[in-house]
């Protein structure tokens, strides 16, 4: 009795659904292709006008239509790597602590809280840094005789370090946890101490994963906008020390995009394009390390 209803062309719906699913997958690919094309088209006037010299030139003067991205590229690299240098030892120690040393009862709630804190919006980190970190840094700068801006490259790096730490830590912790027990037991069996086991067995085992975590964190730092914009001081000259004011690629876009027009706008989009390319490359590198850990 029901078989009559069944002889409807069920195959058509199967095909429709499959194409919908396939189409959605295609959208994910197209999204990235279309983004790239959009950025290139929108920045084309700037690319055509300034060519590659845009990357080395240090002059940034929208009124004179002089645009060189070097101060921002340097600002981005400086803050990101400084943040990485500050964060890595803590992240590594935290990963070893949570992944290997601490008993489950302690490690799990701490990891849980860490992951929640990693979700704090960056504008809130910025707010906090602006009103809490900046005065402290200013006092410190006075003490050591640096220009007491409070704002600047160093402050931005410090906030970045706090922000990226949970990412690096959780990736590294997860790989450290994956280290097989029989490897560790073999080391203990040979009379190795806990630290010797960590250094000799666990860390070599988790090496690629730890690097992947650090590279992923670098990718975050490179593109992080709000917190940096709020504390870096928004200066478009090439920084000469870590106490200087500066701008990153992301922060200059955030600061100037809404007032920009014509060539200025195209130049800002080109900086965005550059940032897009850099972060994609960094993430691809992280993926390579992640694939290595699976093997």
């Amino acid at each position: 009795m029901n078989d009559k209803k069944l002889s409807l062309p069920s195959k058509i719906w199967d095909d429709v659904f499959r194409y919908l699913a396939f189409g959605s997958g295609l959208v994910v690919i197209l999204l990235i292709v279309a983004s790239l094309i959009t950025l290139i088209i929108q920045s084309w006037p700037a690319i055509k006008h300034y060519g590659l010299s845009f990357i080395w030139s240090t002059d940034w003067d929208p009124l004179a239509e002089k645009y060189g991205a070097l101060p921002f590229i340097v600002g981005t690299l400086l803050t990101s790597f400084l943040a990485l240098i500050i964060a890595t030892p803590f992240a590594l120690a935290g990963a070893i602590f949570l992944g290997e040393l601490a008993p489950k009862k302690i490690a799990e709630p701490i990891s849980f809280i860490m992951e929640l804190l990693a979700g704090i919006p960056s504008v809130i980190y910025g707010l906090w840094a602006l009103f809490f970190l900046v005065p402290i840094i200013r006092a410190f700068q006075m003490k050591i005789g640096a220009p007491p801006y409070g704002l600047g490259i160093f402050t931005a790096s410090l906030v970045l370090a706090i922000m990226i730490l949970p990412y690096a830590l959780s990736v590294a912790r997860d790989v450290i946890k994956l280290c097989p027990n029989d490897l560790k037991e073999a080391a203990y069996g040979l009379g190795a101490t806990r630290w010797e086991t960590i250094r000799g067995v666990i860390l070599p085992y988790a090496k690629s994963g730890i690097v992947a975590g650090i590279v992923l964190a670098l990718g975050r730092a490179l593109g992080e906008t709000m917190a940096v914009t709020m504390v870096i001081g928004n200066s478009s000259t090439l920084p000469s020390s870590i106490w200087d004011l500066g701008n990153t690629m992301a922060s200059v876009i955030a600061n100037e995009f809404n007032e920009a027009q014509g060539l200025h706008l195209a130049v800002l989009v080109e900086i965005g394009l550059l940032l897009f390319i850099i972060t994609v490359i960094v993430n691809l590198i992280a993926r390579i390390f992640i694939i290595k850990t699976r093997v």
Binding site: N2, D3, K5, L6, S7, S10, K11
Partner: protein, 254 residues
């Protein structure tokens, strides 16, 4: 040996996984409203040929077949697989009720999943009938709206049988339906199979020779993808024609 009016008839059926030929040139007839047991050592292709009979085989990536399978006089390889599977139900080795559905919805899954709307009384009737056939009604009639996954393994397996019976299939395929169950649940299912054979043709894969002896009318013995012997169970058990069957029955390999 010849079967009058078989419900299934395969002609030179071969089934493959990629290049690997798992079923080799099987020609056989399955009698209607009887229980047929498929036996043979592990890996001989029992599951594979069973899955050919309702066209589940083709869902495995790289799997394909050649030859013909007639359900009465229609070649099912030419039919819409959906229609084939409505007529040929299946019960799996591991009980697999849908975890998101109640017992009631599980029994009616063959309708609900297809979006077929039933009147409340009709749905209730089908549900009760199927659960009674599966000898589960008395145990679950008061908890029809609990999740099917709360039941014991044996009850879950009978729920799966009820689910398959609810759409009134002509044939019920069972792939080692009791291998995940304890002896008591196994006995219940065996009794159920015997009761069911007046209403539906059953093909059961089993490793358990006493079980095959208890429930089946006919037996097929497979070895390395070939059909070695087919005949009435009693006859095959007492007087196997092929030495390989005899070796298997006497436990030389398993």
């Amino acid at each position: 040996m010849s079967i009058e009016n078989p419900i299934f008839r395969t002609e030179d059926l071969c089934a493959y996984y990629g290049d690997f030929m798992a079923i080799k040139h099987v020609t056989m007839s399955i009698p209607e409203k009887k229980v047929t047991a498929f036996m043979g050592p592990s890996g001989c292709g029992k599951t594979t040929i069973l899955r050919c009979l309702n066209r589940l085989h083709e869902l495995t990536p790289g799997a394909w077949y050649s030859g013909k399978i007639f359900l009465r006089d229609q070649d099912i390889l030419e039919m819409d697989p959906i229609l084939v599977r409505r007529k040929v139900g299946m019960v799996f080795q591991k009980p697999n009720p849908f975890p998101t559905m109640t017992i009631y919805d599980n029994v009616l899954a063959g309708y609900k999943l297809l979006g077929i709307r039933l009147k409340k009384e009709e749905a209730d009737r089908i549900c009760e009938e199927a659960l009674r056939k599966a000898a589960l009604w008395d145990e679950v009639k008061d908890i029809l709206h609990r999740r099917g996954t709360f039941l014991s393994g044996g009850q879950q397996q009978r729920l799966c049988i009820a689910r398959a019976l609810a759409v009134n299939p002509e044939v019920l395929l069972m792939d080692e339906p009791t291998s995940a169950l304890d002896p008591k649940a196994t006995l219940q299912i065996e009794n159920l199979i015997v009761d069911l054979k007046n209403t539906v043709t059953i093909i059961i894969v089993t490793h358990n020779m006493p079980q095959a002896g208890r429930v089946s009318d006919y037996s097929a013995f497979f070895y390395l993808g070939e059909l070695v012997e087919f005949g009435p169970t009693a006859e095959m058990f007492t007087n196997p024609k092929d030495p390989r069957t005899e070796e298997y029955l006497t436990g030389k390999f398993s």
